[in-house]
Assembly symmetry: C2
Homo-oligomer: 66 residues x 2
């Protein structure tokens, strides 16, 4: 189930382009950003566990994005 | 102003890792996904304009993600 609201993706596209946005365009962008977020999060989770923590910290996200 | 709610980024990290999530970790992921979304949207907007349209379509997002 996607976590990022389609409405958020719609606003990102409208703000970035000044154009109108098809509903399926916003839906696809939301899905894609969810997937990218999941990949970053999985990497960050491995880093947190590797450091012996049970909490994902900002530094884990930073390193996972590198 | 970020469009993706921190709460959505928090859920993405929790679901992907099963770990607890620092508030600043969720905030950073939300900000990063906003930025990635903006870049994809800008590319998609150029493609829509190039095609003579005033609406960003799903196919613009697809091509911009390639």
């Amino acid at each position: 189930m996607p976590e990022i609201p389609n409405a958020a993706a719609d606003r990102i596209i409208r703000n970035a382009t000044g154009l109108r946005v098809g509903a399926d365009a916003a839906e696809l962008l939301a899905k894609e950003l969810d997937e990218i977020g999941k990949e970053i999060a999985e990497g960050a989770g491995k880093l947190a566990r590797h450091a012996g923590r049970k909490t994902v910290k900002k530094s884990d996200i930073e390193l996972a994005m590198d």
